[in-house]
Symmetry: C2
Subunit: 212 residues, 2 copies
């Protein structure tokens, strides 16, 4: 029996975008059928992990036959909500904000960046002043605000945006952002690097002859 | 009894940088002692999760007393390998590469960016040509290569760097990078956004009156 999507665990949700990406690559290379073993080898999960994850979404896999690449991809796409369009604004026009604005692969998946805001407007580069944000939000429905401001400013600004109607935040400021009632995805660049540092360090400690 | 660090699970390692950051913020505000409950409230984990995680590193917490902020932070710093210095190069001088090069908080934690490479050299902006990378690596010990090239180029280039002595990679190309024998941390910007999309979508489906 199919589980309701709301019951799917956070860990499965973490892995769904990876399945989605790999299936897209397979489809682009003309692969019409794929086994859980092959998916697992592409992602570094075990085959039984893959089977267990995908069983959350009903019975489109068959023992000894595998999955239809396109059917599985479409189903994951629906679950991820990628069928619809999301409107985004970027708040903070520093290097991270500008890099995200230029990042390929957001728009093609329905995440459309509508405007960028900063402390002071910069019309030449299409950057609006933060003072005009309430007016902008009254006239434009925005689903997600991407917060690329300094951590000192992030919480206060997010509260202001929430009051003006933005209910979802993607936060890059290096401090966990929490806005009561809002959905927040925190992405901390340093944390990824620290995790890598941990593994590099543990590896060096186990192989001291390599030095650093 | 203290567990060997190599036995600590991936999930605990995922949370360590968050503890480290929160403890740094507490220390900066002059907080000398902290309970697992207070830490849990700052991070959104349960208090028992915090106690369980921190118990991996021995007995510096006491029931009804809490943790010494500085002692705990120092211990986590050691475990994360943040006491030492890592040398980094950025491979790919696009917007993401340049944003990372300018990101604060890496250098202060010992992650020093030594050089940036791209297909064609750009001396004015301090960007070296990729053709010179083997020569550079023969003369400079580099711990981590940050891969911010297109996904078509990432795997081939990483293999080349690995042969030239780079054993650790932080990959931003939107395809899982795997280099046999190397340590790889994959950071996919789209995946974070997709996860947010999933939650926004699930929320809208549960509250259809809000529309989109």
């Amino acid at each position: 029996m199919k589980k309701r999507h709301t019951e799917i665990s956070e860990k499965v949700i973490d892995r769904l975008p990876k399945y989605y990406r790999v299936l897209g690559e397979l489809l682009a290379s003309g692969v019409k059928k794929i086994s859980s073993k092959e998916i697992s080898e592409m992602l570094g999960f075990t085959a039984s992990q893959v089977r267990q994850d995908l069983s959350n979404f009903g019975g489109f896999g068959q023992q000894g036959y595998g999955y239809e690449t396109e059917v599985l991809m479409d189903e994951i796409k629906k679950i991820l909500g990628l069928g619809r369009e999301f409107s985004l604004i970027i708040v903070g026009a520093g290097k991270i904000g500008r890099a995200l604005a230029a990042y390929e692969g957001f728009a093609s998946e329905g995440f459309k960046i509508k405007a960028m805001f900063d402390k002071s407007a910069d019309k030449e580069n299409g950057i609006l002043g933060i003072d005009s944000i309430e007016k902008y939000l009254a006239e434009n429905k925005i689903d997600i605000a991407v917060m690329t401001v300094e951590k000192e400013a992030a919480a206060e600004l997010a509260k202001r945006l929430f009051a003006a109607g933005v209910k979802n935040f993607w936060n890059f400021a290096p401090a966990e952002l929490s806005v009561p009632g809002a959905i927040v995805e925190n992405t901390n660049m340093s944390e990824s690097l620290f995790k890598l540092g941990y593994r590099v360090n543990a590896n060096l400690n186990n192989n001291p002859k390599e030095g650093i």
